[in-house]
């Protein structure tokens, strides 16, 4: 929102207090949808925090030995066991998709329809790859190693329970993101954001800011992955 009246506002800490004390909006020039996404992500942070804190609490108090992650998550490549190989690739793919998302947002700002759509699509493909690799990892753990939510051959049964629950919950987030990325890629290519076409369900005008909002979500999902990665694979 380019509002000339906003340019005159003070910056820094003084600006913060003047914004909070002012009328109409508290976050000056912030789109409603964007503000909403930020608050939603704050709420979602609490969801993941609860999951991870529960995991830490149970892992710390359980009496059975906890499985050793670099063995459980290792892959054999040409007969050589490589710890955390798959997970390293997954993390790399997901972080890269954050980069392509950032580019999509940039081209969105520039109203560059083709490049923006391309990078949204690339991000979607990155996310899809991640989900695919996760499916592969799950099936390896389930069918090859015999890890189940209610027990596993390596040690404490909560290992499988927390692993499937938390990565599953995160994977659901990624999948939802991927679905929206594909939908938005289509919308961008179709030019909805240039013409301000009204949404089918919401009847609200489309705008490139939607790409930025989706970007916020996508970066958040990546950030959460970093924590899950650290707590499950490195601890």
């Amino acid at each position: 929102m380019t509002d000339p009246t906003l340019d005159k506002l003070p910056g820094g800490f003084k600006g913060m207090s003047s914004d909070i004390g002012s009328d109409q909006t508290t976050f000056k020039g912030v789109n409603w949808g964007k503000a909403m996404m930020w608050i939603f992500l704050l709420s979602d942070t609490f969801v993941f925090s609860c999951f991870l804190v529960a995991y830490m609490k149970v892992r710390a108090s359980v009496t059975e030995p906890w499985p050793y992650p670099s063995e459980v998550f290792g892959l054999e490549v040409f007969g050589v066991p490589v710890p955390l190989l798959l997970i390293a690739i997954m993390t790399f793919v997901l972080i890269t998709s954050s980069g392509t998302m950032a580019l999509a947002v940039k081209y969105g700002y520039e109203k560059n329809r083709k490049m923006c759509g391309l990078f949204v699509l690339l991000t979607a493909i990155g996310g899809l790859t991640f989900v695919g690799m996760q499916a592969f990892e799950w099936s390896k753990l389930i069918f090859h190693d015999g890890v189940r939510p209610w027990g596993n051959p390596f040690g404490a049964e909560q290992f499988g329970a927390f692993f499937f629950m938390i990565t599953g919950f995160h994977g659901t987030h990624v999948s939802i993101g991927v679905i929206f990325l594909f939908i938005f890629a289509r919308k961008v290519f179709r030019g909805d954001f240039d013409t301000g076409k009204r949404g089918y369900f919401t009847t609200m005008k489309s705008d490139y800011v939607a790409i930025e909002i989706l970007g916020l979500y996508w970066h958040f999902v990546d950030l959460v992955w970093v924590f899950i990665f650290a707590f499950f694979y490195l601890w």
Partner: protein
Amino acid sequence: MSDDLNIKKSSKIKTKSSSVSGGGTDIDYVRPAELPEQDLYHGHSFITKWIFCQDAKVIGIQYTLTAVFTGVVGLILSWMMRMQLGFPELFPFLTAESYYQFVTMHGMIMVVYLLTALFLGGFGNYLIPLMVGARDMVFPYVNMLSYWMFFVAVVVLMASFFVPGGPTGSGWTLYPPQAILEGTPGSEYGILLMLISLSLFVIGFTMGGLNYVITILQARTRGMTLMRMPLTIWGIFTATVLALLAFPALLVSSIMMTLDKVLGTSFFMPTIIKAGELLSYDGGSPILFQHLFWFFGHPEVYIVALPAFGIVSDLISVHSRKNIFGYRMMVWAIVIIGALSFFVWAHHMYVSGMTPWFGFFFATTTLIIAVPTALKVYNWILTLWRGNIRLNTVMLFCLGFILTFVNGGITGIFLGNVVVDVPLSDTYFVIAHFHMVMGIAPLMVIFGAIYHWFPLITGRFLDEKLGKWHFWTTFLGAYSIYFPMHYLGFIGVPRRYFEMYDSPYVTSAVGMNEFISIAAFIVGAAQFIFFFNVVKSLRLGKRAEKNPWKANSLEWLTPSMPPEHGNFGEKLPVVHRWAYDYNVPGAKKDYITQTTPPSEVLGAEVEKT
């Protein structure tokens, strides 16, 4: 122009000279609009207008009706419970199983599906856009989804009455391991439906809650600063933020318990021997669930209490024709109570077997909360002081609220003080305390608010005479239920007892139990006076003129009453002052609405708050 805002808040400004002509000159005082006009979808058919409606006001009424429906179910359940406790064995169908199912459903319905939904979904939706001067919620479509998600949650919850085994009977706290083990009623399907319903509720609420927060933060009208918002909005806002941060813990614990039940994981399930058999569970932590549950559960108390605090402040101010005393302190108290409520959850777990050292920390934080809460009480009564008190039904409910809330708040200090909690926890003292403080007190506010805003919603007043009958039976009845009940707790009567048998120290309380039960039947029945009043007044009530209470806040200043979709007609209102300018010295009328520009109240000393 924007320099106007930089004038220090406390400095008084004299109104400008008469050279400024009234009307349309507000541009001189208020910054120009930052936001373009909101794009609204106006429904055309019956379905888009009244069912899948995107108008926050209709959604608010939908929320209210659904919540009240669940509340009536909860009320009937409470009658059943009191029937058993006061006159055991009178009804053979009241078995221990059904008693515990009634207890559980009553608790969960009243706390989550009635109070939370009514305050935030009902009052929040109706009042937020009107009071901050917005045309609607920022995302009407998501807001509509929020209601329908809530509706589905209620359907799932009610469905649990009809599944094999009936609804869950694990107590509203749903403590594992018993919640999902045989030996507790409804441990097969009832508990699953409960957990699913709660998850749906959380998802639905999140959609609505984001709307409330962003509408308040980003969609206020010109001149409406945060510190000019009515306290109702402050209460609902803070409660919604709490809900957005506390419900995640409920969602997570619901998911984990569902997995424990369905997949046989052991998050909350330790080694268990049932009927001599070792179950397959191993190594989980039941106390972890309690931590998660109360990390949600305690803020939940304030999710119910804070909107009540806010609303009652406005009602008291309007009906005692006086500004709310210590507005800024009231705002800060709401915010501080909200923030502190995340650091007190384990005071529900003093005797849960957690590390006893936690007792010191949580007792201290709990009692610190008492300070801002007490200040709010002082400010309410100081608002009455030297006011001009209209003793109508609305005010009566406010006064009833003050008495029950102070009473329940003080017993809360008993229970928060860790060592006093040891003998009293899990007794009827606890029941009496929380019914007084988060049952009766918020209900008083809800009724007061309905009597207050009914003319706005329908254009007609509720009947005063019936209202007074309703108030006195409800207040005196509820007080005589819960005040003596504390003393059952002193005797040591534990809660959640289907029957007392002949314990030597309990037989003496039989008379009191009968008395409480009779009072409960009367209070419950008195609510039907209210329903009758609503139905009657909808058709035959006295017509209300515009702004019938002579209030200042924006919801009364809409061009049509009841307000239409879009709320404010052609032009959004512009706000020049806080909502509490009653009886300003030098002003001609005893109230100055928020939209009155300084040029129109010549000679009045106006505090720029």
